[in-house]
């Protein structure tokens, strides 16, 4: 709560009631809160606070659930000749990621990146879905988490682009063929910015999608306290609708993030396209 203190909005929007910190409860629910404090330290002028927070716990929990689920699936699948139960379900998702996401975006060469994309897809999916469990918070509704994931994709893109095309070849290949010389300076700037906007867009897209639903649900529930108890049926109905929508969005965003990552990495590897 202490981290969200706002100066009062302009006077014309505020009528009568001065803002008290306690009233900004939506931000409180969406924002991170510390669980275990580690004293922050400073590197290159950036204060880094590695304290364990609610979001980190959620990430760890999602990771733990993933390890359990997929180990069980692996055990189940290697025991039987035909998959069944959890192994079958996991395999269905894996085949989806492989055949609908990675291979179409990267071509057959994407097969060796499969473990990375599986981890990315399921990690985002599990964190998203975990946020829908009452009492939990959504890790991916923090821009720091999505930025972390986007940075991983960014680094993967650059590393594999350079690895496959050579350092000079990669940066040369960023600029399309047949560009007139006088446009080159602009193109170089645009393409360089393009490199950075791709992960930035990834980061913002996931963050905004996962945050928006929660804010809407909180706002709808907030209506009950704002307008009175007679709006309860409406609030509940709309919240439920948004909640179901969020299940869809969770899947969709995991899919989009993975697909775009695959596309970016694929494009960096095969620059001629």
């Amino acid at each position: 709560m202490t981290m969200f203190t706002f100066s009062a909005p302009p006077a014309d929007t505020v009528v009568n009631v001065p803002l008290k910190e306690e009233e900004n409860w939506i931000m409180h629910h969406i924002a991170d809160s510390k669980v275990i404090s580690i004293p922050p330290f400073e590197i290159a002028g950036i204060t880094i606070d590695l304290s364990l927070s609610k979001n980190i716990l959620m990430l760890l929990l999602a990771g733990l659930i993933m390890i359990i689920v997929f180990s069980l699936a692996a055990a189940s699948n290697s025991r039987r000749k035909h998959p069944s139960g959890i192994g079958n379900f996991v395999e269905m998702m894996m085949v989806f990621v492989r055949d609908e996401v990675v291979i179409p975006s990267m071509g057959p060469g994407g097969v060796k990146f499969l473990p990375f994309f599986f981890t990315l897809f399921f990690f985002i999916l599990f964190v998203n879905l975990l946020g829908l469990v009452p009492g939990m918070s959504t890790g991916t509704s923090s821009i720091s988490v999505t930025a972390g994931l986007a940075i991983i994709t960014f680094i993967m893109t650059q590393v594999h682009g350079i690895k496959n095309n050579g350092f000079v070849g990669y940066f040369k290949g960023l600029i399309p063929h047949g560009v007139p010389v006088f446009v080159l300076p602009i193109m170089i700037i645009i393409e360089f910015l393009g490199l950075l906007t791709k992960p930035f867009a990834l980061c913002i897209r996931l963050f905004a999608n996962m945050t928006a639903g929660h804010i809407v649900i909180y706002a709808l529930i907030g209506l009950i306290f704002m307008l009175g108890y007679f709006v309860i049926p409406v609030s509940i109905a709309f919240s439920l609708f948004i909640y179901l929508l969020e299940i869809l969005v969770s899947l969709l965003q995991a899919y989009i993030f993975t697909m775009l990552s695959a596309l970016f990495i694929g494009m960096a590897i095969h620059q001629e396209h």
Binding site: F6, S7, N24, K81
Partner: protein, 188 residues
């Protein structure tokens, strides 16, 4: 009233990196390096662990199964083709055998017919020959009989004339003479 205030406050908090006073605030859009680093670390550890304990075995079993299904399908396809080929071969053989049998039957029929015709012709020939032989024999016999009869009659006439001349006989004697003559005639 409260609602308008509520939303404006939220939007205000959501969109501001910094409060108007210039003091840095933790808002939704401010990146916390700590959380970012944690995310990267957790992701990398997760990738490492899952790659080793989950994706490896899962992908292996998936690929193995896909390979085995592909092999099975290919084998089934091959076997099907083989079976079809065999079936066609058998059909061909069967029809060939049928044709052969029909041909042999026709041949045998032809042969039998020919044989029958031959036999018939031969028999008819034989019969005709035998009839001709018999006819010739009869003719010959007839001629020889006529000749011998003629001889006999001549000699008889001669003898009868001699007897008539020899004695003038009465009818009873004449009868006796004829009887005795007849009796003297060779038996056949």
């Amino acid at each position: 009233m409260t609602l308008a205030y509520f939303y404006s406050a939220e939007l205000y908090g959501l969109l501001m990196f910094f409060s108007p006073s210039g003091e840095k605030k933790d808002t939704l859009l401010s990146v916390e390096p700590g959380l970012l680093i944690w995310t990267v670390i957790i992701f990398l550890i997760l990738l490492f662990i899952l790659k080793k304990f989950a994706w490896g075995p899962l992908l292996k079993s998936l690929n193995d199964r896909e390979q085995s299904i592909k092999d099975s399908v290919e084998k089934a396809e091959y076997l099907k083709q083989e079976a079809e080929k065999l079936l066609a071969e058998h059909r061909q053989m069967l029809s060939k055998a049928d044709e052969e049998a029909r041909r042999m039957l026709a041949e045998a029929k032809d042969m039998a017919e020919k044989h029958r015709n031959d036999m018939l012709a031969k028999t008819q020939d034989d019969a005709a020959k035998m009839i001709a032989n018999a006819k010739a024999e009869i003719e010959r016999e007839k001629v020889s009989a006529m000749n011998s009869l003629r001889d006999e009659i001549a000699s008889l006439a001669v003898m009868a004339a001699g007897k008539i001349i020899e004695k003038n006989l009465d009818p009873s004697k004449q009868k006796d003479i004829i009887d005795s003559f007849i009796n003297k005639m060779p038996q056949n």
